[in-house]
């Protein structure tokens, strides 16, 4: 999942630097606050650990092997802010000293693997685990789901970053300049390999590593959890999403069915119906400014919030079901 130089255009990697620099600054202050001066060797060894675990070949069905990113269990055992810093250090070293992942893409790689993955993993883990014991069935399912889902979300972000390239930048004759494939190709390809293969490795390793650490020294796993602050953080992410998209020319909200057909090659059936519904609903409200970027991003934020609420609701229900199952 390490994006090399040349895959992303300057509009995209520049936007990711703009997103990541304040987050790095914030995270370093956050880590400083909680760890005091012990932070230096702790972060260094945390980063070395993050680097090394990516080198393990994990046996997978069919005799093949795969690598785990490790972002999920690092977030669960070190906490998401510490994971963000450790994984950033590991990714910077991989790029600058070993040429693995591009210099221009450092921020995008950190966004996918050091920000999105640990935070979603941490969030999903505690949402499902609740107050259950770490080694209980619910605790282990939580760990598996954290690894599986967070890796897939990170892969989805990577696929989106690749897939928007052909729309952002085209050469003089209309040919794509960077990653040449649209979303209709990148999302299914990345989605398939991560949903069907790498996600299982990541989830399995996350659950197994957590249970092995819990057996060696349970006190190492950070127990207290403040979901409130996480909600705030996720809220900020939701608010930032349309900003990045507007900066890239046509915003996502402006895609009509026709444009989507051009982009994806087809109009999703559900969307076609939804578009008609939308037109019917909004036809009475003939607000002149509704097409403007401000309202488009408001609509986008609204749908992002709805998405998060729906996904969290589902995960919360899974957690409740599991605890119900455990008790009986």
């Amino acid at each position: 999942m390490h994006i090399p130089d040349g895959y992303l255009g300057p509009q995209t990697y520049g936007a990711f630097y703009a997103i990541m620099i304040p987050i790095w600054y914030w995270a370093s202050r956050k880590v400083k606050e909680t760890l005091k001066s012990k932070q230096v060797p702790l972060l260094a060894l945390g980063a070395a650990f993050s680097f090394v675990i990516m080198m393990f070949n994990v046996p997978a069905p069919g005799g093949s092997t795969g690598h785990a990113v490790g972002g999920a269990f690092i977030a669960i055992i070190l906490g998401p802010w510490h994971a963000l810093m450790s994984l950033t250090v590991a990714l910077v070293i991989q790029s600058l000293l070993f040429g693995d992942g591009g210099i221009t893409a450092i921020a995008a790689n950190c966004f996918n693997m050091a920000l999105v993955m640990p935070f979603t993993a941490y969030f999903i883990y505690w949402l499902i685990r609740g107050s259950a014991d770490i080694l209980s069935r619910r605790g282990l399912v939580a760990a598996f789901m954290a690894g599986y889902i967070s890796l897939n979300i990170a892969a989805l972000f990577t696929a989106i970053e690749f897939g928007i390239q052909p729309f952002i930048a085209r050469g003089p004759n209309g040919e794509p300049l960077y990653c040449p494939y649209p979303l209709s190709i990148t999302i299914p390809v990345m989605g398939f390999e991560h949903l069907a293969f790498f996600g299982w490795i990541e989830g399995g390793i996350t659950a197994l590593v957590l249970s092995s650490i819990a057996k060696i020294e349970p006190a190492l796993i950070v127990k207290e959890v403040k979901l409130n602050k996480l909600w705030v953080f996720i809220g900020i992410l939701i608010l930032l999403t349309p900003l990045g998209l507007i900066a890239q020319g046509t915003s996502w909200g402006e895609w009509s069915g026709e444009e989507l057909k051009r982009i994806l090659g087809f109009i999703p059936e559900g969307l076609k119906n939804l578009e008609n519904l939308w037109n019917t609903l909004l036809s009475g409200y003939n607000i002149p400014g509704w097409e403007g970027p401000l309202f488009q991003s408001l609509g986008y934020i609204l749908s992002a919030i709805m998405g998060v609420v729906m996904v969290s609701g589902v995960i919360f229900m899974i957690g409740k079901l599991l605890s119900f199952w455990e008790e009986n």
């Binding site: 130089d5 080198m55 040429g99 221009t104 590593v209 020294e217």
Partner: protein
């Protein structure tokens, strides 16, 4: 003792070839041996670092430069490569990277191989289908597949762009000591504490990799039957847990050692970097290329 002398004093059995291949009673087939795969990955990683560090000692053009201006210049060039829209200028910059490699006394076969070795696997796999998939003027048809002019342009620009940026990054890595690359990050106002963490991480990566290698060798030498999938995964998870536990303990010990040597949380990075004539030449070259591209 010079390295050559120590090589002479080695016992004969250590100098014979084939050291490092493990004779075991294992029934493992090649297919299921994740242990051997990781071991050969580790060997490859260590070999790469060894070969990478060879060129730093050459007295070439890039080696003689201040790491700060080298890093800045390489960054300007990679950004320039990322904004180019046509084939020719990309080709000129690729040729520039080869000329720089020659001027830095890097064996050209090694350099070109090192860069292009990665390209077919990653960029090539992506570029080849785009020959057929990008719509445009057809110029060659084979059965159901049609290669378009736009497809060829897309694939060429993409591969050339990736190859050129990888070339510049590899040039930086091959001609600069790792601690100098990290210290040069001061140019971008990266806090010195962060640079200290980066360089400590780099050192501990090797320690943890050696630990990891030992674990795999010891498992391999006591393996007599094939591991099931579950056994293999459990073992790896246990080892990852152990490496975590070990690094956590180690960080406490390292902290104590730092405190007892007078560490008070303040970091000052010693750098003796000096800008010379060649640095100004290099910076104006890379900045010039960058401005020319922006202006065109």
């Amino acid at each position: 003792m010079k390295p050559v002398d120590s090589f002479r004093t080695l016992p004969a059995w250590l100098k014979t070839e084939g050291i490092g291949t493990f004779q075991t009673t294992s029934f493992e087939t090649r297919k299921s041996s994740f242990i051997k795969k990781t071991l050969s990955d580790i060997t490859g990683f260590l070999r790469d670092t060894l070969f990478t560090s060879v060129w730093v000692r050459e007295k070439g053009f890039l080696q003689g430069m201040d790491p700060r201006s080298k890093l800045l210049g390489v960054l300007f060039l990679i950004i320039t490569v990322s904004i180019m829209r046509t084939i020719n200028p990309l080709l000129y910059l690729y040729i520039l990277s080869v000329i720089l490699a020659i001027a830095s006394r890097i064996k050209i076969v090694f350099f070109v191989k090192r860069v292009w070795f990665f390209i077919p696997f990653f960029a090539g796999v992506i570029a080849i289908p785009s020959l057929f998939l990008v719509p445009g003027k057809p110029i060659f048809s084979f059965l159901v597949l049609t290669i378009t002019r736009e497809g060829i342009t897309t694939a060429t620009i993409f591969v050339l762009r990736v190859a050129t940026s990888v070339s510049f990054l590899i040039l930086l890595i091959l001609t600069t000591k790792w601690d100098h690359i990290l210290k040069a990050l001061r140019v971008f106002y990266v806090p010195s504490l962060f640079i200290l963490i980066l360089s400590m991480t780099y050192r501990y990566i090797y320690l943890l990799i050696y630990t990891m290698e030992d674990m795999h060798i010891s498992l391999l030498s006591r393996t007599i039957k094939r591991h099931t999938l579950q056994e293999g995964q459990r073992w790896i998870a246990g080892r990852i847990g152990f490496i975590f536990y070990k690094s956590r303990r180690l960080s406490g010990e390292v902290y104590d050692a730092m405190i007892s040597r007078g560490f008070r949380g303040e970091v000052s990075i010693l750098d003796t970097f000096r800008m010379k004539g060649v640095d100004y030449l290099w910076l104006s070259l890379s900045l010039g290329v960058f401005i020319m591209e922006i202006a065109s």
